[in-house]
């Protein structure tokens, strides 16, 4: 973990990574804001998923894990989990998660795990519009959805074009 520590000192991002995983421990979405090798990513997500799944429902949403602070919240069958730096604001991170879930919810309309499985690329686009490089880019729900809508519009045209052909 020395490497991770060095990288964190080097990069100082607000958020180190974000993981979505199911109650069964399956990773549904992962976004890394620090460069890590594939092997390390796998190890981190495995360890973390185990740690979080072992926690009881009424426990607090924050935990110290290695040198990081993990903020997580469970929505139905999905766990949303962010790793932030030790001195970062945990509550606002918790609300970042919530805002992201709201965005997904608004976009998919009552989002569920399957939406994220089948439209994982959309989930990534929405995340990119909301958070960039681990920092909140646009916190207005309206504006994020507007951007996604515009992108979709371009895409719909293409789709219609292909279907028509």
């Amino acid at each position: 973990m020395i490497l991770l520590q060095q990288l964190i000192e080097l990069f100082l991002p607000q958020m180190q990574f974000m993981l979505l995983f199911s109650r069964q421990g399956k990773l549904r979405l992962q976004k890394w804001y620090v460069p890590l090798s594939d092997k390390e990513r796998k190890k981190i997500s495995r360890d973390l998923v185990q740690t979080i799944l072992a926690r009881k429902p009424k426990m607090c949403s924050f935990l110290e894990w290695r040198d990081l602070k993990i903020v997580y919240k469970r929505y139905a069958s999905l766990y949303f989990c962010c790793a932030v730096e030790d001195q970062d604001n945990e509550l606002i991170t918790l609300e970042i998660i919530h805002r992201y879930v709201e965005l997904l919810d608004k976009y998919f309309g009552s989002v569920c795990e399957l939406d994220i499985i089948f439209n994982f690329e959309k989930a990534y686009f929405i995340l990119d519009e909301f958070l960039l490089g681990g920092e909140a880019q646009e916190t207005s729900k309206k504006n994020v959805l507007k951007a996604i809508e515009q992108a979709d519009l371009l895409q719909e045209v293409r789709a219609v074009f292909f279907i028509g052909r």
Binding site: P35, M59, I92, H98, Y107, F108, G133, E138, K141
Partner: protein, 931 residues
């Protein structure tokens, strides 16, 4: 999109079943029909009740046609049987390989694929990659998509890019053995492309991004910027670091693009700060804080915060801007008259922040909290700087902070947890800032009271954060007392909290708020908590208790009690440092020695006691057993029997320590000599399979039988006081928690900064062993100085002695290999290496010649005598070096060799040769060799 979904369905459906097969629901998986299972997953919505107050246009959802119909998944039930029995891995691989072969043939096929098909197959590849399988082809197709001018095809690459990110070290190490095929095996799609900057592909990617950046289409520009930020590699920085600042500050850039550009630049700055040169842009970037668009401000603050951490001076102006941005409209209006005109416009925005009238602002209001992210980021930015010097700015800021504290008292505008979270997020950030400034006693105390309320909040999260923040508050001189008033609540939290991480915070806080006045209470509480504490935090708790007990010990008998209790309650978690420390303290304090001996004697009477207790007991009774020997209940023999009753249950190091204690008993109480010799003589000691134990037994036995009482008394003298230094426990806790974590314990400042203390006291027994062997091992050098040894001295034993010497030099502490030098041994030996070394007597200096053939024999202010000896069979040669430490000449300097005082066969001095030098000059050395 819909079509694509269906295309991917085969794989995705597989994925889904995999998840089910691996879940704990195997039983009902077999019984339930596939359709009902899908139903279950489909309808478990993430947000059960959709929040009412969501603004913005409702997007026509793709729900109906995006959601896979249950029918289309029905083929899952016809999948291989092994899947159901849990052997899903092989089945998955089989399926994937089939799919890969299909895609490969499509890419390689003669027929040119249209954009949509390309996208479809790249997407499939990506999906397989995401499942954790290696992809070894398809990268060129992916890049082709990127250079396509169709949005939908570009977009998919955006997802791909993050998976390319790889730390540069790894890339460099790969660079050496890169050949385009093998790297893909590692699963790093595109990595070789990015490694080799001459590659065609990197050029293509960069070109595509460049085109998009200059396209003036905000959606394309954003996409390109996201891509750069997501990849964030050095190559990207090299290509675009100069371009992005221009986009960021250009007047005609769209707001959404500015936001992306700001964060993209931040990412590149973090990757390669040398390539992002802000110089000319600095002031314009800072003024993004004034931007009309809240989103731009939110994004820009992150960039400014990071930049000002690196160059605080250049970005100093951001402080007043941030304060204005934060402050309420009332103050703003009165102050803005003196401010530059551009601030006035932005004061209007501020007006909007609080009144929440504007619809524009409503977008940034989160559950009735205006712009929580923006506020938190502003407060975080201010934490990069000291309190503002300008009185007006500071006044406004203080007022702001007071407003935030006031707002915390207002009744909540919504019952939703999101509302209180957002509100409290700002509050906690404000408290961090107050703690950072540490100059406003009033605010600090108010913050502390606010946190005190949270301590009893029903939200676990808030209790956790309150405990955490209070920990830092406790270290401020202004709020320390205020924190202390909450002691009962915190103790209660320690006892009743159900979540271990919260209990841990409570323990941390107790540690931080401890001082002389409440140490006894806190230590008692922590001790009682230890009995039930979680295993994961016990060791840290033990260290903390040990530190507090030492730091705030009013009387040392309390300290000894506490530590012994600690060992009794959590012996397994008491590290070496803790019991070393108690011994150091007992040895250094005369007043507590008798008490310690008595207590430890009583503690040892428990039928089962921890090995660490035996260690402490053995050491202390060995040193100070005589202080309680007057009492018939703890007569020497009782003490010995008590110790020896534990002997067989202990590990080797403890047994070794006990043996040393026994030999000390012989010295302290001659009446126990027979008993102890009996014990040492028995086969289990003297023929113990462990070399160390056997050696100690043999030597101690010999020592006790042949050495005179004088020698014994000298050898087994009471341990000298340990030099004062930083508590080893504190050092350990620091190491455990990392630097800064113990910063709350400022009181240690008066302690001398010591190096890593490697347990001075554990050398104690070894020292005794050393000294013992000195007396028992015949050594010519000892004779020269006239120490009476009963052992016969001869040429042959000498060689035997030097054999033993070799063994010792491994077993005992390695004495510093001080050659004869003018500095002298005492100063050249690091004090922490061997606590026994700094003994003033020449006798003690002699001890080390058991282990070595050369060193300093004698030293005072005037003279230093060094010795160097070598032995070959029955011959020995010894050089004596005389060093004149003064700056003047010795007038008459003579040496005499006297072998007459030796008992046993005299060693004939065959030859004495002087290597006569003008030796007696100042600071000179001379050499005498004796054969």
């Amino acid at each position: 999109m819909t079509e694509l979904s269906k295309d991917l369905l085969g794989l995705k459906g597989y994925y889904l079943v995999d998840a089910w097969a691996q879940s704990g629901h195997c039983a009902d998986y077999r019984t339930a029909s596939p359709a009902s299972k899908m139903e279950h997953m489909v309808h478990s919505s993430l947000i059960p009740a959709f929040p009412e107050n969501c603004h913005g246009t409702v997007i026509k959802t793709h729900r109906d046609h995006n959601r896979p119909s249950i029918k289309s998944l029905s083929h899952i039930s016809s999948l291989d049987p092994p899947l159901h029995s849990g052997k899903s891995k092989e089945a998955e691989i089989k399926r994937i390989n089939k799919e890969l072969a299909n895609i490969r043939s499509k890419f390689k096929g003669d027929k040119a694929l249209d954009g949509y098909s390309k996208k479809k197959y790249v997407c499939k590849l990506l999906f397989i990659f995401l499942l954790g399988h290696d992809i070894d082809f398809g990268h060129m197709e992916a890049v082709n998509l990127l250079s396509s001018n169709k949005y939908t095809e570009k977009q998919i690459i955006q997802v791909l890019m993050p998976f390319i990110i790889c730390d540069e070290q790894e890339m460099l190490s790969k660079q050496n053995n890169v050949d385009s095929g093998s790297l893909f095996q590692e699963g790093y799609l595109f990595i070789s492309v990015l490694v080799n900057s001459n590659s065609e592909l990197i050029r293509l990617i960069n070109n595509a991004i460049k085109n998009d950046l200059s396209s003036r289409n905000p959606t394309f520009m954003c996409l390109a910027l996201h891509c750069i930020a997501n990849v964030g590699s050095r190559e990207m920085a090299e290509a675009f670091a100069s371009e992005i600042p221009r986009i960021l500050v250009a007047g005609d850039t769209m707001d959404s693009v500015k936001q992306s550009a700001a964060l993209c630049l931040l990412r590149l700055y973090k990757t390669s700060p040398d390539l992002v040169l802000m110089g000319e842009w600095t002031s314009r970037v800072v003024h993004l804080l004034n931007d009309q668009h809240m989103g731009v401000v939110t994004a820009a603050i992150s960039l400014i915060t990071c930049l000002s951490q690196k160059n605080p001076d250049e970005f100093k102006t951001c402080v007043s801007l941030a304060v204005s941005r934060l402050s309420r409209p009332g103050q703003e209006a009165s102050c803005s008259s003196g401010s530059p005109p551009k601030l006035t416009g932005f004061a209007d925005i501020e007006l909007k922040i609080v009144s929440s009238a504007s619809t524009d602002l409503q977008d940034y209001t989160y559950y009735f909290v205006p712009a929580p992210w923006l506020s938190c980021k502003l407060l975080r930015l201010l934490q990069c700087y000291p309190p503002p010097e300008d009185g007006a700015v500071k006044g406004r800021l203080v007022e702001c902070l007071e407003t935030i504290l006031n707002k915390a008292q207002e009744p909540p505008k919504s019952k939703k947890v999101q509302h209180s979270n957002a509100k409290n997020a700002i509050l906690f950030e404000a408290i961090s800032l107050i703690i950072h400034y540490d100059s406003e006693p009033n605010l600090l105390v108010r913050a502390c009271n606010q946190l005190g309320q949270f301590l009893q909040h029903r939200e676990t999260n808030l209790r956790y954060l309150a405990l955490e923040s209070m920990c830092t508050l406790a270290s401020s001189e202004f709020s320390h007392e205020a924190v202390k008033t909450h002691i009962e609540t915190v103790i209660n939290a320690l006892k009743t909290e159900r979540d271990v991480s919260v209990r841990q915070r409570a323990a941390d806080l107790l540690y931080a708020m401890c001082d002389r006045s409440n140490a006894k209470q806190i230590v008692a509480e922590m001790l009682s908590y230890l009995e039930t504490a979680d295993y994961s935090i016990r060791e840290e708790m033990v260290l903390k208790v040990a530190i507090l007990a030492e730091k705030y010990a009013v009387d040392y008998s309390w300290y000894v009690d506490t530590i012994l209790n600690l060992i009794r309650i959590a012996g397994d978690y008491v590290s070496e440092e803790v019991w070393y420390r108690v011994i150091q303290i007992v040895i250094n304090r005369d007043d507590v020695q008798g008490y310690a001996a008595k207590t430890v004697f009583e503690a040892l009477q428990a039928p089962a006691c921890h090995e660490n207790m035996v260690k402490v007991g053995g050491y202390i009774l060995g040193e100070f057993g005589n202080l309680i020997a007057g009492d018939p209940r703890s007569s020497p023999l009782v003490q010995f029997n008590l110790l020896h009753s534990k002997f067989h249950l202990c590990s080797v190091p403890t047994r070794a320590l006990l043996l040393s204690a026994y030999i000390k008993f012989i010295n302290l109480f001659p009446e126990t000599k027979a008993t102890i010799q009996e014990v040492l003589r028995c086969d289990s000691q003297i023929r113990n399979s462990d070399v160390e134990l056997q050696q100690r037994a043999v030597e101690y036995l010999k020592l006790s039988s042949i050495a005179s009482t004088d020698v014994l008394a000298t050898v087994l003298e009471e341990m000298p006081p340990f030099p004062e230094r930083e508590s080893s426990i504190l050092a350990k806790l620091k190491k455990k928690k990392g630097p800064g974590a113990v910063s709350v314990t400022e009181l240690e400042d008066n302690k001398r900064e010591g190096g890593e203390l490697n347990g001075g006291s554990d050398r104690g027994p070894d020292t005794a062993a050393m000294a013992a062997s000195n007396a028992s091992t015949p050594s010519p050098s000892a004779d020269l100085l006239g120490i009476r040894s009963a052992a016969p001295i001869g040429a042959a034993p000498t060689s035997a002695g030097s054999l033993l010497v070799d063994v010792f030099s491994e077993a005992g502490p390695a004495a510093p290999s001080a050659a004869v030098n003018d500095d002298g041994f005492l100063s050249s030996a690091p004090p922490s290496e061997d606590p026994a070394a700094p003994l003033p007597e020449a006798d003690e200096l002699l001890n080390k010649f058991v282990c070595k053939n050369n060193g300093v024999l004698f030293e005072n202010q005037l003279l230093q005598i060094g010795i160097k000896s070598e032995y070959r069979q029955n011959l020995g040669r010894m050089y004596l070096f005389y060093g004149n430490k003064t700056s003047v000449q010795f007038a008459s300097f003579t040496t005499t060799s006297d072998s007459s005082r030796q008992e046993g066969p005299a060693v004939p001095l065959l030859h004495t040769a002087w290597m006569e030098q003008p030796l007696t000059e100042g600071a000179a050395q001379s050499c005498q060799s004796v054969l």
